[in-house]
């Protein structure tokens, strides 16, 4: 088990290192003078902002210093929580901008991912080897999982928002409100949260249901299932065992899908102009705000790594084989 975790941590550490290095390298690989280019593209009107930005960039990139020094400085700044200053919201620090958006993204992604995983697994397990259900769950599942996240989001917004008028289709809360902890505001938040949540939930649901169905069929044909059947054990017991064993690869699958799920959340937020990281990225791209973009990138990488580690811990708790010190999950 110690080996399992140290291996995982090594991978995550390496991943973070690679991500940071990529983040550092890419601006320096750009042709031409990045500072001039950025300031020009930033298209900021106030002269003092332009000047501050130029000075800031020069200082930040530290082009007069040797490359290794620049690299070390980059790491140092990051550990101090200094991701630079946003251009779009100049002069707000990038970390402040991101901190404001993260709760919205987490509030959207955590419930939708967990719920779709749980419900999808149930559906898939239930459908497996039941002809009628299988013939409905499977096609629906494939259509859902083949849908681009933003498209389902647009369709839901159109049907339930624009046509039926049941839900608002833009923003995290009503324009007329200021964030506070009153009931009306919380209800308003939930109201705006419903559609983005639903569309994320539905697209992910299909994939989990299909994955579970396939895993259960595999488990139901395994030797231990056959043995139990030969001893006359009821289908209920066999299905329970099969489900339990089929859930394990689904947990690994959750870790593997994290990147896709995050990507889905980002584009869904853009459709609903939901004030999370996705909308931030859109703004950063539209305003050529590279510091904001890079900061968001690091945040997402970090978040995915933490989520991966949590899943690893859960896996060890659920799979006895990893605890018994045997080869369980692969690294």
């Amino acid at each position: 088990m110690r080996r399992y975790f140290s291996r995982k941590l090594l991978i995550y550490g390496l991943t973070f290192f690679v991500a940071v290095t990529v983040n550092w390298l890419i601006p320096r690989f750009m042709p031409g003078d990045p500072v001039a280019g950025m300031v020009a593209r930033a298209n900021v009107a106030q002269p003092e902002a332009v000047e501050a930005m130029r000075a800031y960039y020069n200082d930040l990139f530290g082009f007069d210093q040797p490359l290794w020094q620049q690299y070390v400085n980059f790491w140092g700044a990051m550990f101090r929580g200094d991701f630079g200053i946003s251009i779009w919201l100049f002069p707000t620090p990038v970390s402040t901008v991101i901190n404001g958006a993260v709760p919205y993204t987490l509030g959207l992604i955590i419930p939708s991912v967990l719920l779709s995983w749980v419900v999808g697994n149930r559906f898939g397990a239930y459908a497996a080897r039941r002809k009628l259900l299988d013939n409905t769950v499977l096609p629906v599942g494939y259509v859902l999982t083949a849908m681009p996240y933003m498209w389902l989001a647009v369709l839901l917004a159109w049907a339930l928002g624009v046509i039926a008028g049941l839900f608002p289709v833009a923003g995290g809360y009503s324009f007329s409100m200021r964030p506070n902890w009153s009931w009306t505001f919380v209800l308003d938040l939930l109201h705006h949260w419903t559609l983005p949540f639903l569309s994320l939930f539905l697209v992910a649901l299909g994939g989990w249901a299909i994955g579970m169905r396939n895993m259960i069929i595999y488990e139901l044909e395994s030797d231990y299932s056959n043995y139990l059947s030969a001893l006359g054990a009821p289908a209920r017991l066999i299905r329970r065992y099969a489900f339990r064993n089929a859930v394990l690869p689904q947990i690994t699958g959750l870790a593997l899908q994290l990147g896709v799920l995050v990507a889905g959340a980002l584009v869904t937020e853009i459709v609903f102009a939901y004030p999370g990281l996705g909308s931030l990225i859109l703004k950063a791209i539209q305003n050529q705000d590279f510091f904001l973009l890079q900061g968001t990138f690091l945040f997402i990488v970090l978040g995915v790594l933490i989520a991966n580690f949590i899943i690893d811990i859960v896996y060890v708790v659920v799979d006895p084989r990893t605890r018994a010190g045997m080869a369980g999950a692969q690294a």
Partner: protein, 294 residues
Amino acid sequence: MTTLQETEPREREGVRREALHFAVRNGKLMAGFGIVVVLLVLGLVGPLLAGGTPNDYGTRPMSPPSAEHWLGTTTFGQDIFLQFVHGLRATFLVGVIGGGIAAVIGMLVGFVAGYRGGAVDEVLNMLTNVILVIPTLAVLLIINAYLGIRSVAVQGLFIGLTQWPWAARAIRAQTFSLRTREFVDLARMSGSGTWRIISREIAPNMSSYLFMTFILLFGGAILIASSLDFIGLGPTEGVSLGLMLQNANQWSALQLGMWWWFVPPGAGITAIVGALYVANVGLDEVFNPKLRET
């Protein structure tokens, strides 16, 4: 040794014939590939028949589907059907390039890691895992934002470079189970080199698996490309289904009730990717006798 060489090809041919027998009778496979082929033909032939450039502004903006504009027009009067058929081309292209590159890298890494084992495997496995954990869309965001991707081909290239890890892992596991098999031992004893064994013995024995992996990578590349397009980091030249969605969203097609603008491109992507997935299930049933019986 001689008997093995004599029976192997015959056996393989038998398997192939049996697979074909099941393939043409498999509804999922036929329906899936049917849809893909129809859309592919539409993408290839449509632009030739329809004529005109997809992004040209027209005279009748915001009109719903009609005999003149089969799928209506955009806020700028662009013909949506024309955009759609051109977009299909871009979508297929990015799928082929992205899926193809990812498949090639995945196979190389998977074969070598699985066959060689040892330190080579350790290093490649570590590399695979690292790239597997990084959220690829985020990486593509940074790359595309800085480099300003102009063409569909370059977009496909970068997608291919980031999508291979899961394929490499799956192929590695398969190779691992094959490399101790008799016919591989035999080839090794008769002095064949690594590449020869991989290309002559191992790859042919998992060709169906490799093909299915490519299909999944193809579908995945299309989905990722559409997300990038939608965020505004798509190719700056031309038109794709994802860019159509982005335009529709940017110019408030939703609020204006112009459903004909945002429904076709999404439906096109869903149809291609969904049909590929369903065809893949069909293929799986054809190649794995266990799954046929239900």
